[in-house]
Structure formats: structure tokens, C-alpha cells
Symmetry: C2
Subunit: 446 residues, 2 copies
């Protein structure tokens, strides 16, 4: 298998693993090709904050040795992966996208990184992100305006914009992101790749620079649904048992709900029509698609509550980390972190109460449902510099509030791709990943 240097998504985990096993390619060669591509294309895309060429080459050599000796560590051995720059990799800078942390070098790996390393993955470096993970354009003043590989000048989304851009550009087979209100799924949708936010308790955030301990969740991005499941399996706390379950899930008879409250989200025409086609395809495959009422979920109010909680919890962290004056943070980021103090304690408490009520509504709905279907974002990617839509996370944050798993699948839009989401009950990650495979087969790929 040769790597198509001109193909934006040429590096699936499954096909690389096949190539490694059969000996047609080897981890060192693939890693070198990735580094070459990064050197060539990333100056324009700014997906990376730190390229870790030397350590990646070493890891690739070790992986090659394991394959030569016939003892690879598993499906991730030798797979080139990028890591969002708020996730600690021992010895590499970890900036969380803020100038305040430009010299921060953690000594220990994040829990998710440990799992990847134990699986033999080759870590290519640290990926660009919206400053502090609080925002969804990855127009980073300090580390560069990250560009969507699908369209010059357009945003990759965020906050894990570099993660989605790196996968879409074929810089790596997969990437880790973090998702507080949609930060894995929004950029996955904008860049035409797959993104997964696990159940809150299935992904531990140890070793991740926090924004909101209540909402943060580490999750993978990849270029195929199969790859996403492979990564979810490796990253999952406890036993996902995906291998046992993927076969026995069928769309026929599946009960899929569409939240009535979606009507209040202003979906742009390409997203609205793609979503309609998505639901039609689910129905054609035998799923029962019904409207459901998520009683306490008002997408706009809930998003504002989530934002206030993120700002309040983020402020508590950054005050401790950089001081009460938020030294080194951009004025925009610092202003957002200062807002909750002005809003006052009761408004913050009300925000917690609201997302708790949303969570209850979600659990109630799932007493008669298997999955929820929603678009990922109300619009496709847009040019950097235009006014940023406020509702980017309206459809994604629901899963964070509910502590539930959610997946974003890329589908064809009118021009740029858009994302379609499936969500499941908290803890039902395995079933969600299982149903995503047949769903992926019936949708119109970008």
C-alpha cells in the first residue's frame, strides 16, 4: 500500500495495520511520509503547534521492530496519531492553545496518551486548538489561524480544530481531541471526518488541561467509522466489549428520536436538507424515527448555561494556574473567564440546575428510545473573519449535559460536508458505535 500524498484522507488505521502485517508498508516509512507531508502542507494549515519528529521516528522504529519480530501490540501499533495541545504528552510542550502556557512541559502522559502509547501508537505531535478550548474557530492568535484543509481561508471549527484539520489533511490517521460542548464533533463536521465523544464516565480527563471538569471529555477523531471504533475501544475506561457487540445491532426496528426542540435551532439550508436525507435513510433502513420532547432542553438557554459553567470552572482553574490577573491569556479569553464573577453565584448555580434538568429530560426520553438523531452543527464551515455564529454548539452540547456518548458522521452537504450526530444513553457507548457502522453505510458520504 502506498500513501497517496495528494489524497486528503489517505491513512486509515485499518488499512495501515493491514499493510504493516503484510509488510507492504512499515511504521517508519509511514511516519516519515507523514512528517514530510506535515513539513510541506502545515505551514499553510497550522494544524500543529509542535511537531515531534524525533520521538515519532523513535516510536516508529520500535513499532517496526515489533512487526519484524511478529509481536505487534494491537491495532494501533505503528499508527501515526496527533494529540490536541491540551492533552499532556510527557516531554512535549502542552500549551492548551494559550500563550500563558507556551513553556509548559508536562512530565507525565495524560491517561488517554498512556493508553495510546501502550498500544504502540506513533505520536506525531501536538495539535492547534482554540485558546483554552473555549471557542470553536481555532483562530489562534498565538499559534496561528488553523485552516480547514477542505477550503482555503475557512475555519476547521474548534476547539479541536487542529485535530480535525490534521486528520482531514492526511497528516495522521487519527487524533485526540477534547469535547466540552462539542469541541470534537464540531470540527469533525466542518472538516468531513468522524468524531466521537464518549460517555462522561467512559473517558477520564486525567492529564488534560481542564476547561470544565463537569463537561470535558477526551475523544478521538478519525477518517473512517471503523477507525473511530478501534480508538474508542482502546481509550475506553473499563470494558467496552465492542468486538462482542458490533454484529448484533441492526437498524431495523431501532427507535430513533428527533428532539422537538431542534425546531428552535436555525439550521442553514444545507444542514436542514442533509438532515432530512439522513432521517429518510434511517427510515428506509427500517428504523422508527419519531419526534421526542426533551422537556427541559432549550438549546439556546442550555448552551448559555454550559458556557457559563465552562467559564466559571475554567476561571477557577486559570486563576490558580496563572494568577488572578489571568496573565498571558488573550484579552478575549480572560474577559470570558471574568464574566461569571460579574454574573454572580446564583446565576452560576441556576446554570448547573438547568443542565441537571436537561440531563433528567434526556434520561427520561431514553426510557422509550434507542438513539437520538441531530445535526452536528447548524451550518457548515465558514470563512475565518466573518461574524462567528453563536449557535455552533447548540446541537452538540446536549450530550455533554447528559454525560452521554455522541458520534458525528460526515455526510455530503450542498458544497462543504456537514455532520450528522447520533447520541445514546449514558454508558451505551458500545451500542452507539455498533449502530454507527450500518448507519455509515447508508448515508451519502462527502
Amino acid at each position: 500500500m502506498a500513501i497517496a500524498a495528494d489524497h486528503p484522507v489517505g491513512l486509515s488505521i485499518a488499512s495501515l495495520a493491514d499493510g504493516y502485517r503484510s509488510g507492504t508498508v512499515d511504521p517508519a516509512g509511514v511516519t516519515e511520509a507523514c512528517l514530510t507531508r506535515i513539513a510541506r502542507d502545515d505551514p499553510a494549515l497550522r494544524a500543529f503547534i509542535t511537531v515531534a519528529g524525533d520521538s515519532a521516528r523513535e516510536q516508529a522504529q520500535e513499532s517496526r521492530r515489533r512487526f519484524t519480530e511478529g509481536r505487534p501490540l494491537g491495532p494501533l501499533d505503528g499508527i501515526p496519531i496527533g494529540i490536541k495541545d491540551n492533552i499532556n504528552v510527557a516531554g512535549l510542550p502542552c500549551t492548551a492553545g494559550t500563550a500563558a502556557f507556551r513553556t509548559r512541559i508536562p512530565e507525565h502522559d495524560a491517561r488517554a496518551v498512556t493508553r495510546l502509547k501502550q498500544g504502540g501508537a506513533v505520536l506525531l505531535g501536538k495539535l492547534n486548538m482554540h485558546e483554552g478550548a473555549l471557542g470553536a474557530t481555532t483562530d489562534n492568535l498565538m499559534y496561528g489561524r488553523c485552516i480547514n484543509p477542505l477550503r482555503p481561508g475557512y475555519t476547521p471549527g474548534g476547539s479541536s480544530g487542529g485535530s480535525a484539520a490534521a486528520v482531514a489533511a492526511g497528516f495522521c490517521a487519527a487524533a485526540l481531541g477534547s469535547d466540552t460542548m462539542g469541541s470534537v464533533r464540531v470540527p469533525a463536521a466542518y472538516c468531513g471526518v468522524y468524531g466521537f465523544k464518549p460517555s462522561h464516565d467512559a473517558a477520564r480527563s486525567d492529564g488534560v488541561v481542564p476547561l470544565s471538569f463537569t463537561l470535558d471529555c477526551v475523544g478521538p477523531l478519525a477518517s473512517t467509522i471503523e477507525d473511530l471504533a478501534i480508538l474508542a475501544d482502546v481509550l475506553h475506561e473499563g470494558s467496552l466489549r465492542l468486538a462482542d457487540r458490533r454484529e448484533d445491532v441492526s437498524l431495523a426496528g431501532c427507535r430513533i428520536g428527533v428532539p422537538r426542540q431542534l425546531a428552535s435551532v436555525a439550521l442553514t439550508p444545507p444542514v436542514a436538507s442533509a438532515f432530512a436525507r439522513f432521517l429518510d435513510a434511517l427510515r428506509d433502513a427500517g428504523a422508527g424515527v419519531t419526534s421526542v420532547d426533551l422537556l427541559h432542553w432549550d438549546p439556546m438557554k442550555a448552551r448559555r448555561a454550559g458556557l457559563l459553567i465552562s467559564e466559571a470552572e475554567g476561571a477557577a482553574y486559570y486563576r490558580r494556574a496563572v494568577g488572578a490577573d489571568f496573565a498571558g491569556l488573550s484579552p478575549e479569553f480572560a474577559a470570558m473567564l471574568r464574566f461569571p464573577e460579574r454574573a454572580g453565584l446564583d446565576r452560576v448555580i441556576d446554570a448547573y440546575a438547568l443542565i441537571d434538568a436537561v440531563r433528567q429530560s434526556y434520561l427520561d426520553a431514553f426510557s422509550e428510545l434507542d438513539f437520538l438523531a441531530l445535526p452536528t452543527t447548524p451550518q457548515p464551515s465558514f470563512p475565518h473573519g466573518v461574524e462567528v455564529p453563536v449557535n455552533q454548539a447548540d446541537c452538540t452540547a446536549l450530550a455533554n449535559f447528559a454525560r452521554a456518548p455522541a458520534i458525528s458522521l460526515p455526510v455530503r452537504g450542498d458544497d462543504l460536508p456537514v455532520g450528522m450526530q447520533l447520541m445514546a444513553a449514558p454508558g451505551d457507548d458500545c451500542r452507539l458505535l455498533s449502530i454507527a457502522a450500518p448507519v455509515d453505510r447508508i448515508i451519502a458520504r462527502p
Copy 2:
């Protein structure tokens, strides 16, 4: 079956249901006997805030009719039950133990009350509690100092003190309480009865005057472990499937953990020795009892964090309900609700972060455990008027932080009974109630 009017715990649900089915007693007669006993003994005990004699007699007559016609509604039909006075029963005053709500009469039943009524239960009235559910002595200035039926002048505990006292006094077969940091289990332990706090998501608090939406949980108190399981089954959201599971759980080989951090809780001698006997009995029955480290759980710090969250969330509710001046609340209660504003937003956020970390530690521990064992309280009941121990909830609040189920079993102490707890992983309510039956058979009853 006659009701032993002089026996403190003479009304088990299971034995009443047997009597109803065989016709040896009937719901109207039992209800009348309960009302007589309440009229005779409650002026000294102050377990009730409102006795609902008329509606209880009507419900009992309807239940009698169902039994006469051979169509009882289930195991709770005709069973006399008392309801903590922060849980709405349509048409009855619901004070939450505070003077501010002395004229509050809800129009609708709380979700838990609806379930009891649908099961045919006879609701005898509303039970005394610590004001606002924020405190554990039930020394209520407005509605009376509630007395432990086991010892004149002693506290029944709280905040569900009236619920435990009413069950212990034989006023009712069971009671509903609410548990924010131990408010069902602490009084159950002090009064020698059984108390259950379900998983957070297994019990909905709709129609309950809130203290802390993050921590509140409705739960039952009863005089036998069998009765507690019957109630838990009726109250549980979703399918508990207790009937399917109770047989297949054995203590042999069961992995029971004792938190290392218990060493920092000053257990009084009667509790320490009862706990040692409890662990010995578990070991003798074949359980593996080991010490476990709940990494982020410092009982004192966590309790203080839980208290701050309860005060902050309670303040947001009461400010809306009675005004910013907390009109009608006692000075003590109002002062507690004012504290978080003085402490500041960041300390409240830190408290949320701490209990979230405790929850993670709990989940981590359960990757290698079936149950945790702890005493319920560090001391048995104590006289009203003495300095109140600050650590009453140190061993109970852990389950609220973890959103996990916990049961308190009464065991013999040196003088007054004490409580022993078992906790399980969140969602494992069924297994916890199942193992509690064999555990109950091997412990020294009070």
C-alpha cells in the same frame, strides 16, 4: 395478626400484606390502629407535622374494598406510610420543616408519592424534619423537637428524623425520606431501622422541595430489609428487576472494600466495635474484605464541600421562593444559606470539583470491587441540646457524591443501635438490595 400496640416495630409491609390477603387484618383496621397510636404517642415524639386522618381513612377503605373484591394493587396496597414533609402530597401542607412554608399546599403529588398511591398505599401524613433538610438533629423550632422513640430526649437524627422516628415508633410500616448527604441513612441508624438511598438517577426528585439538586435523592425507610426492597422496587425509575436478581447473589467470593480514609473519621467505641464485628461476619460468610484507597476522598473536606454546594444550591432556591431576605427561615438556616456568597464563586466551584474527583475515585475503586462497607454514622444517637457532632455525614455523603446506591442496616451497639452501610456502583441498586438480605441474616440485630 394483631398489631402489638406496645411493640415499637410491629408493622412490617410483608406481614401486613399477608394479613390482608388472608383476611386476618384489613387496611381500615390497621390504619385506625396507626392513627390511634399516633394520637397517643406522637405528642411526645413529634414525628408528624400533619396527620392526614381523613384522607388516610378513605384510602384505607378503598384498599379494603380492593381486597374484598380480590384485586389488590400490589405489595403496598393498604400499607400505612408516612411522607417526609418536603415531599409534595396534593392537598396536604408541605412545609419542608420551615415556618416560611407553613401555608404551602401543593396541588400535585411528587413523583414518588404518585408511585406509592398507584400501589394503593395509605398515606398517614407528613413527617417532621430538620428545617429545609439542612441539618441532622430534627430539633425543629417551628414544628417541634422530634424525639428518638428508642430513648427519651435523644435525637432521631435527620434530616428525615420524623421518618425514622415514625417507623421506629410503629406509627407506620414505612416512610419516605430524602437524602442529600445522609438524611435517610443517619436517622435510620439512630432509630434502629433500615434506610436506602438509591442511585441518583434511579430516584427522581420531581415534587420535592429541593435543598441540593446535585445531591438530593428520595429514599425509603422501613423496619425490615425485605420491606425496604419492596419499596425500592416500587419507587425505582426504570426496571429494578429485583425479583429476578435476589436469589443469585451470594456473599461467598464477594469483593467488599473498606475505604482506607475511614481512619480519619473519629468513630466512637460502640461504632468502631460494631463495625469490626460487621466485617468479621462478612469474612465468616466468605466475602473477601480488603482495604481500598478512594484517592480523592478526604471525608472531612468532602463533607464541607457537600455542605457548601447544598447551601449554595439551597440559597438559589430559597431566594426565589421566599425572597432575598430569606423571610420566614430561622436565623440559623438563613445564615447557612448566606455563607456561599461570602465564600465566593471560586470556593463553590472548587467544591463541585472536589466532589467530582471523589466520584471519579469511587468509580475507579469499583473496577475491582462489588461493594463498599462503612459505618453509617461515627456515633449512635445523642441527647438533644448537646453540641452536635460535625461529622455525622462523613461516612454517608460519599454515596451522594458518587451518585451511588447505599443502604443502612441497623445492628446492635453497646447500648443504642448503630448503622452499618453497604454501597455499590452507580446503577447497581438491584445487586445492593440483593446482597443486603444475606448480610442482614448474619449481623447482630439491635
